[in-house]
């Protein structure tokens, strides 16, 4: 542990034998974009968070977040367990509405529109801002019906076959499942199920995809395929990903937000944003000592 203090940041060193391979594959010249080394250029702001706080009942989970999420980039939220990064993510498509007692204060604008305005229909929000979950959660239906679910509930009746094929193709799953579209989604491996969930999300043609630790239940090979897929999708979608895995954040994201918890006077723990910057900058030259401590493995 003390060695880590004196070493260069682990991420730069590509620590971890199992994940090392996929680092290399993302950096291959023929990889789609070379997310790690490209210098992000300023773009449209999709989400604008100002003094955002989320409470469960009277307890604050995360407070005082100011953040601009850029369009068609991958933004990673990293931080120790329980820091509120998943909570923050779930605000962005109003999934927190489904949690009893959850409450959001501050401003959360989506292309300038306040997402928590009482006139906003959360269902319409979620059509535009899709979500992929930690554990693959395909419906207990056929592969086809999983993909067609979103279009169907949104009133699409025609060309479902084409929509399904396109979504599966975009999620790099078509070749593996084209001959068994009618079999149960549960016949797929964990990694395939997660790509199915991504395809399901793509089928409703969202603008933003939120990913809540999408690889934490997957093995390294499946993880690397999802990461490759994310880098491809970045061309067309804005992606916000929560991850425990700092190497993953370093490999795929353009921007990274580091969130951590403070212990308040009463002993309660509240998450807040420490630093938000281009991923390369945050991992090689963080401006806050707490960020440096976290990414070098001193805590968390």
């Amino acid at each position: 542990m003390t060695d880590a203090l004196t070493q260069p940041p682990r991420v730069g060193a590509g620590a971890g034998a199992t994940t090392g391979g996929s680092v290399a594959s993302v950096r291959e010249p023929d990889a789609v974009s070379g997310a790690v080394s490209s210098v992000p250029v300023p773009t449209d702001v999709v989400f604008e968070l100002r003094d955002l706080a989320v409470y469960y009942g009277d307890v604050a989970a995360v407070e005082g977040v100011d953040l601009d999420v850029p369009a068609r980039r991958i933004t990673a939220l990293i931080g120790p367990s329980g820091c509120g990064k998943s909570t923050l993510l779930r605000c962005l498509n109003r999934m927190n509405d489904l949690v009893d007692g959850a409450r959001v204060t501050g401003r959360l604008a989506y292309y300038g529109l306040d997402l928590y305005d009482p006139r906003v229909d959360p269902v319409e929000v979620r059509r535009r801002i899709g979500m992929v979950f930690q554990k693959p959660n395909p419906f207990p239906k056929s592969i086809y019906d999983n993909i067609a679910f979103g279009p169907r509930v949104n009133g699409v009746r025609r060309n479902l076959d084409d929509i399904v094929e396109k979504a599966l193709t975009d999620a790099a799953l078509w070749d593996e499942v084209k001959d068994k579209l009618r079999s149960s989604a549960f016949a797929l491996s964990g990694g395939q199920q997660q790509r199915l969930c991504i395809a399901r999300c793509l089928a409703v043609e969202p603008d933003v995809i939120l990913m809540d630790e999408p690889c934490s239940a997957l093995d390294p090979i499946a993880t690397s395929r999802i990461e490759d897929l994310m880098v491809e999708l970045r061309e067309r979608y804005t992606i916000v990903i929560v991850t425990h895995n700092m190497q993953q954040a370093a490999r795929v994201s353009d921007y990274t937000a580091f969130i951590t918890t403070d212990v308040r006077d009463g002993g309660s723990r509240v998450g807040h944003l420490v630093e938000f910057d281009a991923t390369e900058k945050l991992f090689t030259n963080p401006s806050d000592p707490r960020t440096e401590g976290y990414i070098t493995g001193r805590f968390g």
């Binding site: 489904l98 059509r127 959660n137 239906k141 679910f149 509930v153 549960f186």
Partner: protein, 316 residues
């Protein structure tokens, strides 16, 4: 390998005391008594079925199976007797059908409301209240049917002759109310067992609440819901007191719910409470009807297991 006498661990060794020195008699007794409880309940069931067989076989020595199953006049205790069971089978099915029409939509509706819409506080009050209906004695339901529902059936009957106070409809409606808790409570358990992640998956695709309920949760819980349905129907077919009191006890071959009918169970109750000499044909009739009732519920259970195995959506 060196041989060490493991039964004598060195004193003070961490291994001291791990060797069993006496048999734990208590544990064996516990296992034995638990196995005996399980065995007894199976034995009783087998015994009941076996006790149906002998008098039934004896019945069918005197009455042909075809006459019993296809005959349309049920008068086994009259002279001359007639053993056509169809009227009371139809009576049972008619009343069960009415009860199912009441209980399935209301029970399932209540279940979907409680699991998908109601917040914690509401559910904490409503679900026990619903289950309380299950504790009402069926004899109370029976007189509720006669004294309250029957007159309304008479008053609001839309077609033709006004029914009497005793009718299949009054009995069926009240029986439906009786099985709502079975249908509702078990369906709700099945719906609640659907992982929350599946619902989240639906919401994240822009589904509305009723779409999540009807297209994600209910299909995923279908096997449990069908099980609830089967149990409800079994309770309805087997229910005796309500139909005994409220359906009129008239073995009348009709599909008109406004008429008085007799069910198989009500016949058994009626004949069983009379003074039939043991070994008489009337006595044996009770067992024959009981056997038929048993076969019907058994077949229904098997069929529904088939249906569930075919259509259920497996998660996890």
């Amino acid at each position: 390998m060196s041989t060490i006498d493991v039964t004598v661990p060195v004193a003070g060794s961490p291994a001291a005391g791990i060797v069993r020195t006496k048999h734990r008699l208590g544990e064996r007794l516990v296992i034995l008594s638990l196995a005996a409880s399980a065995g007894l309940s199976i034995a009783v069931t087998v015994g009941i079925v076996a006790s149906l067989v002998q008098p039934s076989v004896s019945f069918f020595r005197e009455v042909r199976l075809g006459e019993f199953l296809l005959g349309t006049t049920w008068a086994p205790l009259f002279t001359p007797p007639s053993f056509g069971v169809v009227p009371i089978v139809v009576g049972s099915l008619l009343i069960t059908g009415i009860a199912t029409l009441v209980a399935v939509p209301l029970g399932l509706g209540a279940a979907v409301y409680l699991s998908e819409y109601a917040d914690q506080r509401v559910r904490k009050v409503v679900k026990p209240a619903l289950e309380l209906l299950e504790g009402i004695p069926t004899v109370v339901y029976g007189y509720f049917a006669v004294s309250f529902v029957g007159p309304y059936v008479q008053r609001w009957w839309p077609l033709g002759d006004t029914p009497g106070v005793f009718s299949a409809l009054a009995a069926g409606l009240v029986m439906g109310i009786m099985i709502i808790p079975t249908m509702g409570s078990l369906s709700e358990d099945a719906l609640r067992a659907v992982p929350i992640d599946l619902r989240r998956g639906g919401y994240a695709l822009g589904a509305r609440r009723y779409e999540v309920a009807t297209r994600v949760t209910v299909p995923a819980a279908l096997s449990g819901i069908v099980a609830a349905f089967v149990l409800s129907v079994s309770r309805a077919i087997g229910e005796t007191m309500i139909v005994f009191i409220a359906a009129g006890n008239t073995p009348n071959l009709t599909f008109n719910p406004g008429e008085a009918v007799q069910t198989m169970t009500a016949f058994i109750a009626q004949a069983g409470t009379g003074d039939l000499p043991q070994g008489s044909i009337g006595y044996k009739t009770i067992f024959a009807v009981g056997s038929l009732l048993f076969v019907m519920t058994f077949v229904m259970n098997m069929l529904s297991n088939r249906v569930v195995a075919r259509y259920r959506e497996v998660y996890d």
